[in-house]
């Protein structure tokens, strides 16, 4: 038997790159946190906060949720909007019917209720495999939309069909300015992202990827497939549910069933395709894309008008662009922007040593 290979553990003698300088990483992270938590809310203007940053954060969170079940565990879900809806309605009912509970608890419980619903609609995945599974999540999508429309109890018997989001307060702090809402969303999103990053690197994350890559082999080595899949649906819906609550309360300001339709599910799916499936950071990239592209387009409306495309058609142009990008990404870079960014970073790291 050959002796163990030790050449790769010899210390490097050239100047270390930032990846190997933990102190630099800590500084960069600190600067980022400072900008995100202090600079932006203090100096940011309302438009940016309301129309760009808040939806960006919430959509990143929704993308994270979907990524857990579809990107990591390989179970395709087209029902993200439905689970967002469950989280929103659950949190709404708790806020309105049990006002004694603090906001954090309401969110947590809303997420848990969404998790249970998610696990329920994930049960078929124990028998149905691959592409056929979209039937279950599509059923969830249509059923949830229907039940929140029909059963008025969920809407606190409000007849208008569109509920206005109640005032949010946390620890006595009134969350009623754009900056306050932004900080609240940022806080929740950060916590969930950190937890999710740890989760996917744990044994459960590994089991999810095993089930995704080859579930017959996973079964043979003793991984409990059913439990693993259900946990994927449950945890994914937990995150997605909280994202839904944030979407309704911190962004839209309203809660209505048709705000969580199939189109939103598609949007979230596009976020993870473009951002990168089985990636944590990629969700931010994908969400940024989805949020910024329409804005870019409407800003370019003047230029587009000269080519004969009127403003009313911008939405159609957007559709074409999204569709094309999906296909391009699927063909060229199936691991999304996250992989693209990593490739660029690696190239920059080697430059100018590359010939």
């Amino acid at each position: 038997m050959s002796s163990p290979d030790t050449t790769l553990s010899a210390p490097r003698t050239f100047k270390p790159y930032p990846q190997q300088r933990p102190l630099l990483k800590v500084w960069l992270a600190a600067v980022l946190v400072l900008i995100a938590f202090v600079v932006v809310p203090v100096f940011g203007n309302d438009y940016w906060l309301n129309a760009i940053l808040i939806p960006f954060l919430v959509l990143s969170l929704a993308g994270l949720g979907l990524n857990l079940v579809t990107g990591y565990a390989g179970q395709l879900s087209l029902g993200s909007a439905a689970f967002m809806s469950v989280g929103a309605y659950a949190t709404y009912n708790l806020l309105v019917r049990v006002p004694a509970l603090p906001l954090a608890v309401d969110l947590l419980l809303g997420g848990l209720i969404s998790a249970v619903v998610g696990a329920l609609f994930g049960l078929p995945s124990l028998r149905i495999k691959g592409f056929y599974l979209i039937v279950s999540t599509l059923a969830a999508q249509f059923f949830v939309e229907w039940i929140f429309t029909r059963v008025s109890w969920f809407s606190n018997d409000d007849t208008s069909g569109v509920l206005s989001a109640p005032r949010l307060t946390a620890f006595g702090w009134k969350i009623d300015t754009p900056a306050a809402r932004y900080l609240f969303v940022l806080g929740v999103t950060s916590v969930l992202f950190i937890l999710a990053a740890r989760l996917v690197r744990s044994e459960l994350g590994r089991r999810w990827m095993a089930v995704r890559d080859m579930d017959t082999a996973a079964r043979v080595i003793g991984i409990p497939i059913g439990r693993t899949k259900l946990l994927a649906f449950a945890l994914s819906s937990f995150v997605t549910g909280i994202a839904g609550a944030l979407w309704a309360f911190a962004y839209l300001g309203t809660v209505e069933p048709h705000g969580f339709d199939l189109n939103l599910s598609f949007q979230v799916l596009f976020i993870i395709i473009i951002g990168g499936m089985s990636s944590i950071g990629g969700n931010f990239l994908g969400a940024a894309f989805i949020v910024l592209l329409p804005i870019l387009l409407s800003n370019a409306a003047g230029a587009l008008a000269t080519v004969g495309i009127e403003a009313g058609q911008l939405q159609n142009l957007q559709k074409i662009l999204f569709g094309t990008l999906i296909i391009v990404f699927l063909i060229k870079e199936p691991d999304g922007l996250a992989r693209l960014v990593q490739t660029v970073r690696n190239r920059l790291r080697d430059w100018p040593l590359r010939a």
């Binding site: 395709l76 599509l138 159609n316």
Partner: protein
């Protein structure tokens, strides 16, 4: 009893329309192994193009021909630019690509022709006929008849002609078909052209019924449960599945829906499909794959 029959017949006839759209899916699945989510958008594109041409005083027959040509061209482009690069990828990836395609086609169709609703007149009166005490729409009968002709034509084509034989060979094992000299690109082109034809016919019929508008592309969401029940690769299955979904949907809406407040037709077919899948994961007519480890 008469009312029940009326609802049933109405449901069956609606089911015929579903079947027609589903057949388009089956054709593409047999040839390219992919569930073409963009089929609905192709239906919309076809109907929209036809209607817009007719509104611009193009003769219906010519409009039909031009539209068919456009659809076939689109189908070929899809094959070349989208399906070929993705040939070895898992079905989920292909499905997501067709999702992207559907967005492109929808956006393009409405960018080109505008987003208003168009009425489509095929020259058939929608006066209800009284058949043995039950009221049946004339239009539905015409649609059913068209579907019948289509199915018979396709069956004859598949089972009695050489082309049909090549088609079945390709569907069964593309590599083996290649080995015996079948020209794959030609067969694929023909199948996609056929699917385009079926889509156009379905689009015209649906458009005449509902008006040609964006929601036409949502028929794909109705076709999925049909295919799940009937299997993705069987035309007969598409018929049976379509009839089943159509009938059960209408019956459920009337008898169960009244208890639940109505509007259940969106999710009921999916619930049905899910139950079917749990009982028989390959659909009524699908072939179970023997997994060799």
């Amino acid at each position: 009893m008469g009312f029940f029959l009326e609802v049933l017949v109405g449901g069956l006839l609606a089911g015929v329309m579903y079947s027609m759209v589903a057949i388009g899916f089956v054709l593409i699945y047999k040839a390219s192994g992919v569930f073409n989510f963009a089929q609905g958008s192709m239906v919309l594109f076809g109907a929209l193009t036809y209607v817009s041409l007719v509104e611009r005083h193009v003769k219906p027959v010519l409009a039909f021909g031009v539209t068919l040509g456009a659809l076939v061209l689109i189908a070929l482009l899809i094959g070349r630019l989208v399906l070929r690069p993705l040939v070895s990828r898992p079905p989920i990836v292909l499905f997501m690509a067709t999702l992207g395609l559907s967005f492109i086609l929808e956006g393009a169709a409405q960018l080109f022709w505008g987003a208003q609703v168009h009425g489509l007149d095929l020259g058939i009166d929608d006066k209800p006929l009284n058949v043995g005490g039950i009221m049946i729409s004339q239009f539905d009968i015409f649609a059913a008849a068209t579907a019948g002709v289509l199915v018979i034509g396709l069956s004859l084509l598949t089972n009695r002609t050489r082309l049909g034989l090549s088609l079945r060979a390709v569907a069964d094992d593309p590599l083996a078909a290649l080995a015996i000299g079948v020209r794959l690109p030609r067969v694929w082109a023909i199948v996609w052209a056929l699917a385009g034809f079926v889509s156009l016919v379905a689009g015209l019929l649906w458009g005449a019924r509902l008006g040609v508008q964006f929601s036409l592309s949502l028929v794909v969401l109705k076709a999925l449960p049909v295919l799940i029940i009937g299997g993705f690769s069987s035309i007969g299955g598409a018929i049976v599945g379509g009839l089943l979904i159509g009938a059960s949907e209408k019956l459920a809406e009337v008898y169960v829906g009244s208890l639940l407040g109505g509007g259940i037709e969106n999710w009921f077919p999916y619930l049905l499909a899910m139950l079917f899948l749990l009982a028989r994961p390959v659909g009524l007519f699908g072939e179970p794959a023997v997994e060799r480890v």
